[in-house]
């Protein structure tokens, strides 16, 4: 992967995340103010394709964005290079993606 590809992927994932972050915060405030219980929240998310898409996209964007950012830090600060650096970035991506996907599955699957 070239620097240009990583640069573009990180910018695009940031663009995708921006509205999702705002949406997420809005949902949090709404859920807390309305005093929704865990059961009530699950009642709305389970089986909802919309919520699965919203948080699924979020998880993908976060995994890409964070993996590229941490890759740069690992390179510049820790001096990781070559295939070690590539493996590091993929591990970060996969850990975040798997954990996120699991969470999305848990609250949206029926």
């Amino acid at each position: 992967m070239t620097d240009l590809w990583l640069y573009m992927a990180q910018r695009i994932s940031a663009l995708v995340m921006a509205p999702l972050v705002l949406g997420h915060i809005a949902v949090m405030i709404y859920a807390i103010q309305g005093g929704l219980s865990a059961g009530e929240i699950l009642g709305r998310t389970q089986g909802s394709f919309g919520w699965a898409l919203f948080y699924g996209t979020f998880v993908v964007a976060v995994s890409i964005h964070a993996a590229i950012g941490l890759r740069t830090i690992a390179f510049e600060v820790l001096g990781l290079k070559g295939s070690a650096l590539t493996v590091f970035a993929w591990v970060v991506f996969l850990v975040l993606f798997v954990m996120g996907a699991q969470a999305v599955y848990a609250v949206t699957a029926t």
Partner: protein, 243 residues
């Protein structure tokens, strides 16, 4: 700050077999004294073996840059009284470049990167063609004009942390040069330039923290030039995928 002492405490970097160490000198204070005057005084009166580099002494040639109290500066135009800390001055070779001896650095990596960034003119016409008319008020020309006052002093290169951490990073001056050529109507190498600055170690390694702009003695803003290159490479990235 103004000092009342008669001499300055000057530490000068001297190279030796194991790397180097600072050597102390007491240098008489004079009116309107520059850092280059201090270095020259030491070489002429204390130790003729002190190695350093200068040529024009008026801020034109870009050869006299050194680290002064930790910051890269053009020493011929830097007044002692403006940078003195207590009564002390520490003078070291420019950061991010190999040292040849004492205060003289090897600037080859700096200039090699200019070429690597395609910071070289790509002619578009022959001697038989009519001379192209350039509108000095056009957007491209004004962009280029801002960047062409560079004196190749490598001060921005020494100030840049991305150069320290990323060995093959082209650095602010080379990318600034690439940006002026990109905006030059007479240069035919636009895509060549974009390809060169999109490669690993190109403009995307810049973190836009602006140490280059802060340090440049000619008040250039390489960070802004690099931002321009980032914009253009991003546009080209999408344009290529469409075509």
């Amino acid at each position: 700050m103004t000092s009342t002492a008669k001499t300055l405490d000057v530490s000068v970097w001297r190279s030796n077999d194991t790397g180097g160490a600072f050597q102390a000198f007491a240098v008489p204070i004079q009116e309107s004294q520059t850092i280059l005057d201090v270095v020259a005084w030491i070489q002429q009166n204390e130790d003729p073996t002190l190695a350093y580099r200068f040529a024009c002494r008026v801020g034109m040639c870009g050869s006299c840059a050194m680290m002064v109290n930790g910051k890269p500066r053009w020493t011929c135009r830097t007044h002692v009284q403006k940078v003195i800390s207590g009564n002390k001055i520490e003078i070291a070779p420019l950061r991010n470049l190999p040292v040849i001896k004492d205060l003289a650095t090897d600037m080859d990596p700096f200039f090699d990167k200019w070429v690597k960034a395609e910071g070289v003119f790509h002619p578009s016409k022959t001697r038989d063609d009519a001379i192209e008319q350039i509108d000095p008020t056009s957007h491209e020309r004004t962009e280029a004009d801002i960047g062409i006052e560079c004196i190749n002093c490598s001060i921005c290169y020494a100030a840049c942390d991305a150069v320290s951490t990323t060995e093959d990073y082209l650095g602010p001056a080379a990318l600034n040069r690439a940006w002026t050529l990109f905006n030059d109507a007479k240069d035919s190498g636009k895509q060549t330039i974009l390809d060169a600055v999109s490669a690993n170690g190109g403009c995307h390694s810049c973190h836009s923290m602006g140490s280059c702009a802060e340090a440049c003695p000619n008040e250039l803003n390489p960070m802004a030039s690099i931002a321009g290159l980032k914009r253009e490479t991003a546009k080209a990235f999408f344009a290529r995928r469409k075509s």
